[in-house]
Symmetry: C2
Subunit: 285 residues, 2 copies
Amino acid sequence: MKTYLECIPCFFKQGLTAARIAGLGPDEQKKILNEIARIIPDIPLEASPPEIALEIYKVIRESSGVKDPFKHIKNEYISYSLTLYPKLKKIVEDSKDPLLSAIRVAIAGNIIDFGVGNDFDVEETLKETMEVRFAILDYEPFKKSLNDAKTILYIGDNAGETVFDRVLIEEMEGDVVYVVREEPIINDVTKEDAERSGIGEVARIISSGSPAPGTILSLCNKQFLRFLKKADLVISKGQGNYETLSEVEREIYFLIKAKCPVIAQDIGVKEQAIVLKRHINEGNK
Amino acid sequence: MKTYLECIPCFFKQGLTAARIAGLGPDEQKKILNEIARIIPDIPLEASPPEIALEIYKVIRESSGVKDPFKHIKNEYISYSLTLYPKLKKIVEDSKDPLLSAIRVAIAGNIIDFGVGNDFDVEETLKETMEVRFAILDYEPFKKSLNDAKTILYIGDNAGETVFDRVLIEEMEGDVVYVVREEPIINDVTKEDAERSGIGEVARIISSGSPAPGTILSLCNKQFLRFLKKADLVISKGQGNYETLSEVEREIYFLIKAKCPVIAQDIGVKEQAIVLKRHINEGNK
């Protein structure tokens, strides 16, 4: 997905949030916004939003001297999500369709996304997500693919959301490879975060190689690209992964809560909609 | 009120909305955002948001070659509001406290503000505003001031809102001077707009001299400044006027719907709150 002009105000909003989380004072926050302003004229709109975000968070890291401003937030949300884990398991076990409920749980966890904002309520979102209608639900082909799959590539998104992902992974029978970011960026999941969330107990964890808040293929490592090509089933969580993988030439199932108007428009759903979308290689349509 | 860092993303959002309303294509829209980015580093945060907005809309005017991009929108909202006028009058006439109802009507009209966004519903806002609790309601001193006032300065905000203002003005007994912007900016009210709204039948219309979407005193003309000093009662509508007059050394009654988080925080109320706030010169408190 390309960067829309609507993303530009949002980059400033994200920069401001991150600068504050990094503990910068007002003058330094303003400097960050000035630096982002300096980058704007050179933004190629064909680039995906995570490619631009990569530049912006680099500015924040360099200006603040803090390598991982979101570290404490990630730890906090992992710990909190782990306390919810028994509840999440019970929701799935008590439901008529445990797989579909686990999909809903995994989508609910996607609300823990500091790239979009910081005024979310996880438990309220969980409650809503268990009941709301899917805007897109390619469930039958997903079930069939899952049933046939020996190898499943599960591309993670945020720390904390990982615990919700675990619940879905536990409903799957194939071998799951869970994909994380190469380096800390926003509150995106790294190897350490995935391990702290207990993902290591249910899947093999690999890095995509991408240091961006998404999966920028040109920055990905060979191991990941091999899995992406060969896995029987690919599941992609969240906005950043959608933004970078929406034009990939293979079948991918996107699990998303459309938390921003631009993504919602690109997918063709309303804001806040939940989606299990089968993406098919243009050539295979 | 100074400009907050949160205003910066919003300037880009406003620029984009205005560029689209001015009929610019995507490449030209991007150029506008680049131009705004160029201005950002030089923004003095002590300046009020309308002072910055003045620069931003100048960029849009110059780049688009359109002097008044919002002209058709202003005309549309004036015409629409005039069709609502009989309904607004009936609401006030049927109420137990016509003055308070007219204040609510005038505040409801403040939703017609393209500086904040363009996804508002006037009639829905009217309905809500007639029922919702005021977050601040300095009604008793207002009534007393109004009762004693021979000359009333009523500082208008947006075209269309003018018709709602007329309903409030018709509940007042003193001589009303209605203040408009010197030049077209966003959908702010100009002399022509006020006249088309029928304000000329109930008040004398003067320009403040300010070409900004607010009342920047250093840009105001002598006539307005004299009225501001001498009027028995000053009523100021909306955010832009609040942003530029919140530190003036005289008593002012602010009628506002706090449509953005920054204003809401500055006033000390929740977003979307409605307010009739008595501002008193610091020295008189």
